[in-house]
Amino acid sequence: MVEKKLVIRNKLGLHARAAVKFVNLANRFSSKVKIIKNSAEIDGKSILGILTLAATQHSTITLKISGRDEKDAFKALTGLINDKFEEKE
């Protein structure tokens, strides 16, 4: 299992557009993807789960991934978050 705390950096946070990108990417891997914010833990492959986290800019989330391709999934998903979901700001 890999686990890491990350800060949401893009201006709009993990909003609908970003969530769609995240889920699409997460679905490419067989590993289980969990996102934890405060005390809530949600399935990272569920758009509704992600939206109900209301992860705004500067909020800290923990990404927890386990499974056969966890390393690749981790690299791809942290990359997306740190790349501000390919958003300009």
Binding site: G13, A19, N24, T52, A54
Partner: protein, 586 residues
């Protein structure tokens, strides 16, 4: 005969008249209907079928909207499709049917209530609003549970009246091509419906409060998306009035679009460039639809005037990069802050001046407040990586100022290179010629910069020593004053000879007669409020440069503004009787 007029917010221009179709809001029945245990499997299959139908509809809508309104509007369907496939949501539905032994309708209702509670507990408004998307998807499934498909409303084109439209509903209904206009109780100018209606050219009035309460299916409605007026069951006389209004508007729009697409060439095929003076990045689309081939003047003042504190680098960058992207590949000329004098800036605590027009303003203010100026220059450079941004410095009085700006600019470039920030190494630097002293130095200034922009409003004020807002002397403010014309002619000819670009971005560029004279001087770039582009473009397309140049050259020997005006008008009309015709586009 009685008829009702309602006033709302005009959000998408145009006039429409037609029969009303009232759209009922989607509602869930709150009825809990039990089913026998043996029916559970069949009920889940019924839900599954409704989900399949919904998926098909959403995919269809997505491709349709993508084609008609662009990828950005289609995005909402990606999100909705994903919500539809969300396995937490789906397993919730299945579980409720199986454990509570209820109909799928009730399960949808329960799940909707659950998500509404969750989303309503969120602190962030943007996230709270996402409950509408969940509702939207669940309501679609709900409708698809009914075996009988709602007959596609017959009877041709209608005016759509509704309390409000959900984003996906709006996209679906507006893209079918059978909506003449839209009238809503709710909504504002920046709502999704408004933006979509504008991009699809559907006249729309929102914020009518209770239009749904006042009309029924089949009523006749006149809808004016330009004035924000809605008239219910108008008598024939009013109908006829609106028919002609609609006709005029439609002709006008057609004419504008036709003209915007035509090449900007004079009769003897000399190319000119109409450009836009704007203040907000959002204005670019409208400017381009009117024929603007770039932004000749972006006024950056609004950035400073809209908030109590000074904007930071990212505030600037966001606006400039949006500008660059929206206009790309067309050029955007950003003028650094032109403030001080009459437009005070409370954040800087500028002292009241006895004579603000001659005081600490524009570049003078910037060179005094270098930290503020650096922030703006850095943001402009950072936004320049698409290579379509130009930098324009206002109110230059002496060569030394250009030197200081260039020094500062180079310093910032070095900084950015060290930070490995991408920017346009060849970003053009230009200055505004507004002060007669700068005008007289044109031959020297052109050697220092890449282009010139003539701000005729200030140049005329300083040249004639006239404050046009002072009613006692305003009569002296004359753009065609021979002295103004000599000055402008000298600037344009000197720039052209030196192989430098020169633009006029004052009101002279938007005035038909003045624009002709500028063309005669050799000007090719005319930047103005975009609404004037059609009339200037039409006029310049109707004349020959050669002839205009000859007439204007003769006019330079005249003694007064009035003589110039009469002479040029008469000569032009003799040669081109239709040059000043206003036509449909006015």
């Amino acid at each position: 005969m009685e008829f009702v007029r309602l006033r709302g917010i005009a959000v998408s221009p145009g006039v429409a008249m037609g029969r009303v179709r009232v759209t009922e809001p989607l509602v869930f029945s709150a009825q809990r209907e039990s089913i026998p245990p043996v029916r559970v499997k069949a009920e889940r299959a019924r839900l599954e079928q409704a989900v399949r139908r919904t998926r098909r509809q959403l995919s269809l809508l997505r491709s349709k909207i993508k084609k008609k309104a662009g990828q950005d509007h289609a995005f909402i369907f990606d999100a909705h499709l994903m919500i539809l496939e969300d396995h937490t949501l789906r397993s919730n539905l299945d579980r409720i049917i199986a454990t509570e032994k209820v109909k799928a309708e009730w399960a949808l209702c329960q799940v909707n209530a659950k998500y509404r509670r969750i989303f309503e507990s969120l602190d962030d408004d943007a996230f709270r609003q996402r409950q509408l998307d969940v509702y939207d998807v669940l309501a679609k499934i709900y409708r698809n549970l009914k075996q009988k498909r709602e007959a596609i409303a017959a009877g041709g084109k209608k005016i759509l009246v509704a309390h409000d439209l959900l984003p996906s509903e709006a996209a679906g209904r507006l893209s079918r091509g059978n909506v003449l206009g839209v009238a809503l109780d709710m909504g504002g100018p920046t709502s999704h419906v408004a933006i979509l209606a504008r991009s699809l050219n559907i006249p729309t009035v929102v914020g009518l409060h209770d239009v749904t309460g006042q009309v029924k299916n089949g009523d006749t409605l006149i809808l004016d998306g330009t004035d924000g007026e809605v008239i219910i069951n108008p008598p024939p006389a009013v109908q006829r009035e609106f028919e002609s209004k609609k006709q005029r508007y439609d002709n006008y729009r057609l004419e504008l679009h036709r003209l915007a697409k035509m090449p900007s060439l004079t009769l003897d095929r000399v190319r000119f460039t109409p450009m836009a003076n704007i203040e907000l990045p959002e204005e670019i689309a409208m400017a381009q639809s009117l024929g603007a081939e770039g932004v000749g003047l972006f006024r950056s003042e609004f950035l400073y005037l809209q908030s109590a504190s000074l904007p930071d680098e990212d505030d600037h960058y966001r606006v400039y990069s949006q500008l660059a992207r929206s206009a790309y590949p067309a050029p955007v000329c950003i003028r650094t802050i032109d403030i001080g004098g009459e437009k005070a800036l409370p954040q800087l605590k500028i002292e009241q001046e006895r004579n603000p027009a001659l005081g600490l303003r524009a570049i003078r203010l910037c060179l005094k407040n270098r930290d503020m100026f650096r922030i703006q220059l850095r943001a402009i450079l950072r936004a320049s990586f698409l290579r379509n941004i130009q930098l324009l410095v206002p109110m230059i009085t002496e060569i030394e100022e250009v030197g200081e700006v260039k020094l500062l600019f180079e310093e910032i470039k070095t900084e950015l290179r060290a930070e490995k920030v991408r920017f346009d190494e060849n970003i053009p630097l230009g200055v505004m010629i507004e002060v007669p002293a700068a005008a007289a130095l044109t031959d020297l200034l052109v050697k220092e910069v890449d282009f010139l922009s003539i701000g005729t409003n200030d140049l005329i004020q300083y040249c004639l020593a006239v404050d046009r807002s002072n009613e006692f002397v305003a009569y002296l403010y004359k753009p065609l004053h021979p002295s103004v014309l000599r000055l402008v002619k000298f600037i344009i000819e000197t720039a052209v000879q030196a192989g430098r670009r020169v633009t006029v971005c004052g009101e002279m560029a938007a005035d038909p007669l003045s624009a002709l004279i500028l063309l005669g001087f050799g000007l090719r770039e005319f930047s103005m409020n975009p609404i004037f582009i059609p009339r200037i473009k039409r006029m310049l397309r109707a004349v020959e440069f050669r002839t205009v140049r000859r007439i204007v050259a003769q006019a330079m020997d005249l003694r007064t503004a009035q003589e110039v005006e009469e002479f040029v008008t008469e000569k032009i009309l003799a040669r081109y009787p239709h040059a000043f015709l206003k036509g449909g586009a006015e």
